[in-house]
Symmetry: C2
Subunit: 340 residues, 2 copies
C-alpha cells in the first residue's frame, strides 16, 4: 500500500484498466459497462478515494477557492463577515483562504501575492489602515482577477464594493437621540483619515441640521485610537468643563463604553441624564445594554461573495464596479431609551 491518498492511477492499476475508464466510471459518463463501473466504484469506496483538488485545479484552470484579505480576524465585526463569506462560498462549493494584513501595507501586499500565487478564483479585500498606494491591487485587476472590496471603500479605484451606509447609520443614531429628547449631543469622532469616520460625522451633522439644532464644534471630539480609556479621559474632561451635555453618539462602541464609564463615575444617570449610542454593535454591547448601530457583517460577507461570483461568471464588464450599500440599523437599548 502506498503512503498517501489513493489516486485514479492506483485504482486503474489494481483493476488493470486505464485511467480514462476509471475517471469516466466515477462520474457516470455514458459508455462504461455496468460491470466495470461497479468494480471501480466499489474499489474507490473501499480505498476512500477523493479526487485530488490540486490536479483538478491545474487541469481546469480554476481552483474553486476565493482569497480573503482582512485586517484582523479577531475583531468581532470581521469574524462575522468571514462567517458570512464562508457560508456563501461553501454553499457554492468554494473554499476560502484567509490572510490577515494586520493593518500593515507590506503584509497586505504579501497576502495578495500569496493568494495570487495560489491562483484563487477571486479576491475579497478589506484594505489595511496603512494602505494608500494601490499598485498591488491594480495588478490584480490588470491580470483579470475578480476583485471585490468590502467594509472599507477604496478611493481611486473603481472596483465592486460592499459597504455599510455609515452616513445613514450615523444619521439614524443621532436622530434617535434627538427623538429621546436630547438637546446637546456630543460626537466622539474617529480618526479623520478614515472615510467611515468622515461619513459618520456627516450623518451626525446632517441629523442635527435637519432638526434645526446648532452644530457646536466644541462637542465634536476626535478619538484617535478609539480605545475605551482614551474616550473616557476625553469625555471626562469635557464633563468637567461644565458643558451642558445630554447625549453622546460615538464613532464606535469602545468609545461609547468610555463615555458610559465616565458618565457613571461622574454621577450621571444613563440614560436619564445622558443618553449614549455607539456604532458597530459589538458583542459586548448587548451584554452591557449599550445602544448601537448594527452593520450586518454576516450579510456583508455573503453579499461580497455573491458579487464575486457575478464577476467570475460574467466575462463582460457589464456587472463591474458596482457599489452595494447595505443599510445600517440602529439597535436601541437601555443606554439611550428614555421612552418606554
Amino acid at each position: 500500500m502506498r503512503s498517501g491518498q489513493v489516486t485514479i492511477k492506483d485504482i486503474a492499476k489494481e483493476l488493470n484498466i486505464s485511467c480514462s475508464t476509471v475517471s469516466r466510471a466515477l462520474k457516470d459518463f455514458p459508455g462504461i459497462s455496468p460491470t466495470t463501473k461497479k468494480s471501480v466504484v466499489d474499489l474507490a469506496n473501499k480505498y476512500n478515494y477523493r479526487p485530488n483538488a490540486i490536479a483538478l485545479s491545474l487541469r481546469n484552470q480554476k481552483t474553486n477557492t476565493i482569497g480573503v484579505v482582512i485586517p484582523e480576524t479577531v475583531h468581532f465585526f470581521f469574524s462575522t463577515v468571514i462567517s458570512g463569506i464562508e457560508d456563501e462560498a461553501m454553499s457554492e462549493g468554494y473554499n476560502v483562504m484567509i490572510c490577515q494584513s494586520r493593518e500593515s501595507y507590506e503584509r497586505e501586499a504579501d497576502c495578495i501575492d500569496t493568494l495570487m500565487g495560489a491562483r484563487v478564483d477571486g479576491l475579497l479585500v478589506s484594505i489595511s489602515r496603512e494602505t494608500s498606494d494601490l499598485a498591488h491591487l491594480q495588478k490584480v485587476v490588470s491580470e483579470g482577477k475578480p476583485l471585490v472590496f468590502f467594509d472599507r471603500l477604496v478611493e481611486g479605484m473603481n472596483a465592486t464594493s460592499v459597504v455599510v451606509d455609515d452616513y445613514q447609520g450615523a444619521y439614524d443614531a443621532t436622530k434617535h437621540l434627538i427623538d429621546q429628547g436630547c438637546k446637546h449631543i456630543v460626537h466622539l469622532e474617529g480618526p479623520d483619515n478614515l472615510i467611515i469616520s468622515r461619513k459618520r460625522k456627516e450623518g451626525y451633522i446632517s441629523a442635527l441640521e435637519d432638526h434645526e439644532m446648532p452644530i457646536d464644534e466644541g462637542l465634536i471630539i476626535e478619538c484617535r485610537d478609539g480605545s475605551e480609556a482614551e474616550a473616557a479621559k476625553l469625555f471626562q474632561h469635557l464633563l468637567e468643563s461644565g458643558a451642558a451635555i445630554d447625549g453622546v453618539f460615538a464613532n464606535n462602541d469602545m468609545a461609547a463604553l468610555g463615555a458610559l464609564q465616565a458618565s457613571k463615575s461622574s454621577g450621571l444617570k444613563v440614560p436619564e441624564d445622558i443618553a449614549i449610542i455607539g456604532f458597530s454593535n459589538w458583542q459586548f454591547s448587548s451584554l452591557i445594554d449599550l445602544s448601537s448601530v448594527e452593520q450586518h457583517g454576516y450579510e456583508m460577507g455573503r453579499e461580497a461573495v455573491r458579487l464575486m461570483f457575478q464577476e467570475i461568471a460574467n466575462e463582460d464588464e457589464s456587472a463591474k464596479s458596482q457599489i452595494r450599500i447595505l443599510d445600517a440599523e440602529i439597535v436601541p437599548r437601555g443606554s439611550s431609551s428614555r421612552i418606554a
Copy 2:
C-alpha cells in the same frame, strides 16, 4: 497578451528558449549564462511572474497548506486561536485553510473531506460538540496525514493534542476566591457531557477540599446552554432561596455575567458582598471588569502548528501522540478583588 497570469511557458516562448532554462534562471541554478538569466529575470519582473502554487503542489506532492476545522470562528477564543495558527504557519511559509463545523458532526465530516481533497499537509481540529463517532478522524490518520487536536480533547484516539489546563485554572480561580475570604462559593457548572466542564468542576472541588471547606451540592448549579440569561435566572433563584453565598466561580464568562447581573439587581455589592470570577477571559470581561481565567488561545494556536510541523517533519512515530497542556492563568479584576 493572454488572459490569466504569466507562466514559465509564456516567458520561454517569448525568449525562444526552453521552460527548463527559464525555471533554472529564475532560481539561480548554476549553469545558466548571465545573459540568459538577466533576460529571463527582467521579463519575469515585467510580467509580474508568480510561480503557480497549484502546479508546484502537484509536482512536489506538498501543498504547504494546513487545514483547520473549528466549531465557530466568531467566538472570541477561537478567533484568537486562529490568529496564532496563522502567524505561526505564515512564518514557515504555510497557508491556512479554515472550515467551520458549526458544532455539527455532519459538517465536520464534510470539512475534513474537503480539506483532504485539497491535500492539505496536515489537519488541526477542534471537534464539534456533536462528535462522538470518530471514523472520519481515524481515516485521516490511517492515510498518514498529520493530525493535531486543539482545545477540545478527544477521548479514544491517541493523537497529538494541545489543551489548556482546565483543572488547574479552575483550581486557581477557586483558590483566588478563597484567598479573598469567600466562605460559600457557588459553582456555575457547564454541560456535563463536555470534558472541560468536568475538569473545571474537579478543580473547583479540589480547591475546596484542599482548604478544608465543605462541598455543598446545593451550591453547584448546572447551566446547560451557558447563556447569560439562563445563569442570571438560576442564580437569582438561588439567592432568593436564602442560601448564604459570597463567591461565584462560573464555568464561563457568560454565566459569570449572568451571576453579576443577578447579584446587582438583588442589591448585593460586587465584590464586597459577593466575589465573582468566570472562565475564558472573553473580550468583554476586561471591559466590565470581570475577573476570569485566560486560556492563552493565541499561544495554543501557535503551539498546535508547531506540533503539526514536528509531525510533518518526523516520518517516524517518535513524536506522536503527545499532549501539550498549557497553563491557564487567572486574571483578577474588580469583580473579585477585595484586597487592594
